[in-house]
């Protein structure tokens, strides 16, 4: 092979090494670390090894093994870090939820409220298994991510239905984001974020040139034509509507941010970002002025301790105190009092448990793990060879990044709390399943991106036109 075929471009016949064994080695750590964490929490809570130790270790190991084998077979060139990080996060999440299940305080709280206290960890383990099943399903059934392009408009319809449906179901904890069927409930927003990324990718791939070029210059900004601007206004309006009717600030922020990011990437026009910021600011201010639920959250963000003192929600104040009490090294798993936060301790606020029990060191480690997933996603987007794949990968990564930022920022009092879940860690079936699907799609895109190009057919013409260097 001549030097012109070294890996300076994304397209080459040699391709990068598949790194499947790296993935396997990382997966071993991703299973061992949560198992040790589980033992640690059990010893701290009751001075004995937790009884489910073996089955938990085996279960997590089995999920990882299945994931790995399927990736090896169906996405051999996939990014080697995505699966191990997802496994590690999911495993740690299970430990944290199990640890909160042991809380006598939460049990007492449930009893006082007249409800039966049921542990969440077993359910979460089942959901994790379902998530990995979906992961496997996506890898096996989705032969090529470009197939998704065909479903652009179907995706739009499905996403709209998923977003609108919760309006017809009763609100829980002040937000209308659940579809409840008997004892079973799902949060469609989690799935909608993937489907909407598919729609945006398909739509923008087709319309990007029109949006980028057919526009008038006005005061240094490129104003698009009305018919191209239409969908943006529709999405903006939709996210505001979600906010108003479902009182779900997080989801609307997520969708709007996702759309601005993807528009910007597709058109390479900075003006979209300016528009996006202006519109979201206008929307946010407008809604915050009229919507009491949003107002109370802004208040709780600005003055968490005042609000708690005056009988309002003390969750933010409690979370901040949990973080502060953890300090640099934390109290150790099972030795904190993050359950003081109350009913959302194992869902929205699970990061506070990380903060208190694993400390600054552990929380930063966790945030960096999330950062790493996003980084691998963006890298996949950079490496992808087709615009649809690029858009899909950046869309999913950005959605993931925004979600982590919105939740962690809310819990840590950086921005107003919006009530989303920490991907993989927080208790909640929809979230775990949807995020495994998200990782599966990223893995599929990265497999295509890193797969060596099929060698060009050795024609005599080709031979003759080849540049030969000394």
């Amino acid at each position: 092979m001549s030097s012109s075929t070294t890996n300076t471009t994304t397209i080459s016949t040699a391709g990068p090494p598949s790194r499947r064994n790296t993935e396997l080695a990382m997966l071993v750590f991703a299973v061992i670390i949560p198992v040790f964490a589980y033992a640690n929490a059990g010893l701290a809570l009751s001075d004995e090894m937790p009884s489910g130790m073996l089955s938990y270790g085996l279960g997590l190991g089995l999920l990882a093994a299945v994931g790995h084998l399927v990736v090896r077979k169906f996405a051999p060139y996939a990014d080697p870090l995505l699966l191990p990080i997802a496994t590690l996060l999911n495993g740690l999440g299970l430990v944290l939820i199990w640890r909160l299940d042991q809380s006598r305080r939460l049990a007492q709280r449930a009893k006082d409220a007249g409800m039966a206290f049921s542990p969440s960890a077993p359910n979460q383990l089942i959901y994790s298994a379902l998530g990995v099943a979906l992961f496997v399903g996506v890898l096996i059934l989705l032969k090529d991510h470009r197939i998704l392009q065909r479903y652009t408009y179907i995706s739009m319809v499905v996403a709209l239905i998923l977003l609108i449906l919760p309006m017809f179901f009763p609100a829980r904890f002040g937000a209308r984001i659940w579809i409840t069927l008997g004892s079973f409930s799902i949060q469609p927003g989690e799935f909608a974020k993937i489907i909407i990324a598919v729609f945006f990718s398909g739509y923008l791939m087709v319309k990007r040139d029109a949006l980028a070029l057919a526009s008038r210059r006005f005061m240094g900004l490129y104003l698009p034509r009305g018919r191209d601007l239409g969908p943006i206004l529709v999405v903006w309006g939709m996210s505001i509507l979600i906010l108003v009717f479902e009182t779900d600030l997080g989801t609307s922020l997520l969708f709007f941010g996702l759309f601005v990011v993807m528009l910007y990437v597709a058109t390479e026009r900075t003006s979209w970002i300016v528009f996006g910021l202006l519109m979201s600011a206008a929307g946010a201010v407008g809604v915050a002025t009229f919507e009491p639920h949003v107002q109370s959250r802004v208040d709780a963000w600005l003055q968490p301790f005042e609000v708690a003192k005056n009988g309002g929600s003390d969750q933010i104040a409690q979370a901040l105190m949990a973080f502060g009490s953890g300090g640099v090294f934390g109290t150790g798993l099972g030795q904190g009092n993050s359950d003081l936060i109350g009913f959302a301790a194992n869902s929205d606020f699970i990061l506070a448990t990380v903060g208190e029990e694993l400390g600054l060191a552990g929380t930063m480690g966790l945030l960096l793990l999330y950062g790493l997933i996003v980084e691998r996603g963006v890298r996949t987007a950079l490496a992808a060879r087709d615009p649809f794949g690029k858009l899909l990968a950046i869309g999913l990564s950005a959605a993931f990044a925004i979600q982590v930022f919105v939740v962690a920022g809310g819990v840590m009092g950086l921005i107003p709390l919006t009530g989303m879940t920490m991907p993989f860690i927080a208790q909640g079936g929809s979230s775990v399943i949807a995020n495994w699907a998200l990782v599966a799609i990223l893995i599929k895109v990265s497999d295509t991106a890193r797969r060596p190009a099929p060698a060009p057919a050795p024609t005599t013409d080709a031979e003759m036109t080849q540049v030969v260097r000394p």
Binding site: M321, G327, G371, I402, G409, G413
Partner: protein, 490 residues
Amino acid sequence: MNKPLRRIAIFCGLLVLALLVRDNWIQYVQADELKNHEGNHRVLIARYSQPRGNIIVDGQPITGSAETGGIDFKYKRTYKDGPMWAPVTGYASQAYDANQIEKIEDEILTGNDDRLFFNRTIDMITGKKQKGGDVITTLNRKAQEAAFEGLGDKKGAVAALDPRTGKILALASTPSYDPSKIAGATSKDKEAWLGLQPKKSKDDPMLNRALRQTYPPGSTFKVVTAAAALENGKYTDIDGPTDSPDPWKLPLSTQPLPNEGNIPCKNASLRQALRYSCNTVFGKLGDDLRQDKVREEAEKFGFNETIDTPVRAYASVYPEDMDRPGNAMSAIGQFDNRATPLQMAMVAAAVANDGKLMKPYMVDSLRAPNLNTIEQTDPEQMSQPLSSENAQKLQSMMETVVKEGTGTSAQIPDVTVGGKTGTAQHGVANSKNPYAWFISYAKGDDGSPVAVAVVIEGSNTLRGDIAGGKLAAPIAKNVMKAVLETERDK
């Protein structure tokens, strides 16, 4: 499309960076503030996660800890003879924080004190639970019992000191409360707490009357006025006649200052004036000295200053800008000057200790869980209100009061006792029951081991019978007897 992709990558990086910075801010920069925030329940959880150290009197703990089996708090504070010791211990409550010694020495009692760092480290290495240290008090159980029982169902307070060192021997306040009843965080504790609040209970049982209630000192203040007269050389011979007309009109007024009953006060000697408690003599003395001199003397005894024992005693007051009649009235303890029982015990103690006033204290030492002493309070002289010579003159006067004056009910056989009674008028135009005071000291061969002040705010006794000599002196006598007995047994 790679250029915008890289920018989005930077944007995502900034999001993560913002989270990391925020995390460092709350978990490193603000960590201590959040950790010790008043709303942080963990402080209480930690405080009650192990048995607290004890407060000790005469080698025996007057506090304890009981396992509760609760979720948040593993242990609860218990008190032995709670109502009797409440003015000393204060309370430590899971729901309502703590006060007095329980609060001031909290770090030692919980074992969090920096001086226990070595202990904690050893315990951590050997896997033992953290233990609290003990607070050893200066109190005398028998004296406290005598004081508390003497007060009985009357409203009042007793403070007793060892004049030689300033050690507080008894500190009783009635009506009292049982800190055990508010130690927990249950609804029962809440009910008890609400019942103790001044709104609900007008007797205010949680008020530490010995340290934190000031009363008009009544005639007991005449001891201070007498000291001022001696110190300023107004009179040097306590048996010589004074220049005191009777009746004597208050300066700048036509109103005569009456004496209580028909007593020989005209030109009476200081000794006789104190013996009979002559208002005219001491009122005129105060006016002759002028208020700066009287106030200076009062301040030497500790007036106008808070005293940390370490529980803070409120400042007793001798005000600055009274008019002349006001000053004359204050000189007999009847106007704007006010004193805590501790303050008046200090007056008696300074006289008994030949003029040297020792700083009162009630924490003798702090002890680590391994029984090492980590802090020892040394007696400290606070001031010298009067010379030794004048102190002995005043002692002689006060002993006359007990021998053949208004304080005969404080006599103890074979013991020299000095004292002064007081009956302070109270209420608008003297409409309420007066306060009965008695201050005294007992003396043995090697100085005086005890000085005591008793005040009784009111009782079921008929109004005419309220007088320091009748109500308060017997209590003081029993307290002194209790101390003398323990001194003898030593």
